[in-house]
Amino acid sequence: MDEQAPRLAVWKFASCDGCQLTLLDCEDELLSVAARLEIAYFLEASSAPGPGPYDLSLVEGSITTPEDLERIRHVRRVSRRLVTIGACATAGGVQALRDFAGVKEFASVVYARPDYIATLDRSTPISAHVPVDFELRGCPIDRRQLLEVISAFLAGRRPVVPAHSVCVECKARGNVCVMVAHGTPCLGPVTQAGCGALCPSFNRGCYGCFGPMESPNAAGLNHWLRGLGMSTPELVRIYRTYHATTEPFQRAAEEAEEHG
């Protein structure tokens, strides 16, 4: 590795670590990444953090505590480029379900001493607090897409991360549509591609973990999903999972409640 290699940092906020782990999962490509970038700060991989500033910061997790609010500003200050990785950092994650109820009540049920818990009322994406250069979707993110984002950063070009539906990838992969052929409810038509149509490839419906595609028509899909037997609570639940507070999915859940 040459002296001038760009420096990479990986940061964690409220999250399960699965997206960071995707970087370590790049087994065949990991040496190439390490050869092109200095992995300067990555606590999941090394307990020896290198000092900033960093050329590329990958940020996992959502903002849920007062301490997070301070730390994300620090991360932004020490990062030339900031890329969020995963549904938590990009959309608030499953923990954004707290937004639909009182976080104090949750804390009182979950913790023996809720008074020890310092937390915010809402779980918010990184972009709600600091400017973000690129948001990579998924729960977890896709390995190929992560490598594409890193490659694009190194080449100084726009990453190829299409915002069309999962169906485009699903058909290219040669899958049979689980909704049409099996009657399995699927969010693929309203969800952004990137996973390689992973769930439908195993005869399961899409759960929408990559969030809304570029022009989602959830009202149109909901009508059909009801015909396949989904109830109002089931519709609300499927939209309020990974991207509960992302506007099109939030509206989709509300639309389901209104027509329930």
Partner: protein, 356 residues
Amino acid sequence: MDAVVIESLEPLIAELRSRGFAVVGPVVRDGAIRFEEIASAGRLARGVTDDQEPGRYRLRETGDEMIFSFAASPDSAKRYTQPPRQALFRMRGERIEEAEEEAPRIALLGVRACDLAAIGVQDRVFLGGRHPDPAYRLRREALLLVAVNCAVPGGTCFCVSMGTGPRVTAGHDIALTELAAPHRFVVEIGSERGEEIVRALPRAPASARDQADAEEVSRTAAGRMGRQVETEGIQERLSAHDSPRWQQVGARCLTCANCTMVCPTCFCTTVEDSTSLADGTAERVERWDSCFTLGFSEVNGTPVRGSNPGRYRQWLTHKFSTWIDQFGMSGCVGCGRCITWCPVGIDVTEELANLP
């Protein structure tokens, strides 16, 4: 060569394989009829039919010995003539390496008259203009087409309206008609290549009764179309750009692009460039795209067709009207795949019928 009768497909499959063809035929997989490589006739679908309606596809067992009692499969020949993803070239520093064009010899067994018509449309698009596509030509020439006359059209079929079926008339190397009691196939020849293969098979001349039975199959099928389209005046009707109908269908359309992916003639692609982390090579690939994606009509960072109704109108108008201006033929062959595989059951025949 006159029509002949064969009792089994096994010798045909063996003959094709001995000539270096991978035989790709209909099998049952994942609750659907899929086209995949087979080594023997025993792997072929048997005793199943399909029920197709807008947004719904189910297989049903018939219990009989018939192999081809189903209509259009979700797979069309497009996957072989125009693969979903193909490398165009690679760059190492200043050096450009064109991708090696591969064209494995494939015999498609069980394609229908509508599929042959669709290949004809693709031939016009890829080979008929000022810039013929050499990679398409290679793949196309490596393709041998063993067609089957449709006996059981699906609920979303309308090849009679589009003038493409159900009887195979052109574009095939060999055409089969499957007959029952006794189970046999009437074989007709469509090309010299096809004739050579049939001459190598155990066969008997087709009797007058065999031929009459085969004609009856197509006559019955023609009377059982699930859908129809009035093609008379279709270009005038599709010029109704301001019809409120576009808003109505646009409210239903998911812009998911499934219709264009399953369409055997939709040919639009985009290119994607990638750079390798390992050695710095750059690669350009071509992949299926769709007029339903926003990126498809993006100019200077903004899509020209941003609205759902606008994109649906673009697709339907191109398929049934401006395609005729562009290529001198309709872009629709009446296979019904876009109706069956639309996840919310939008029916092009209904949309066309409801235009003023």
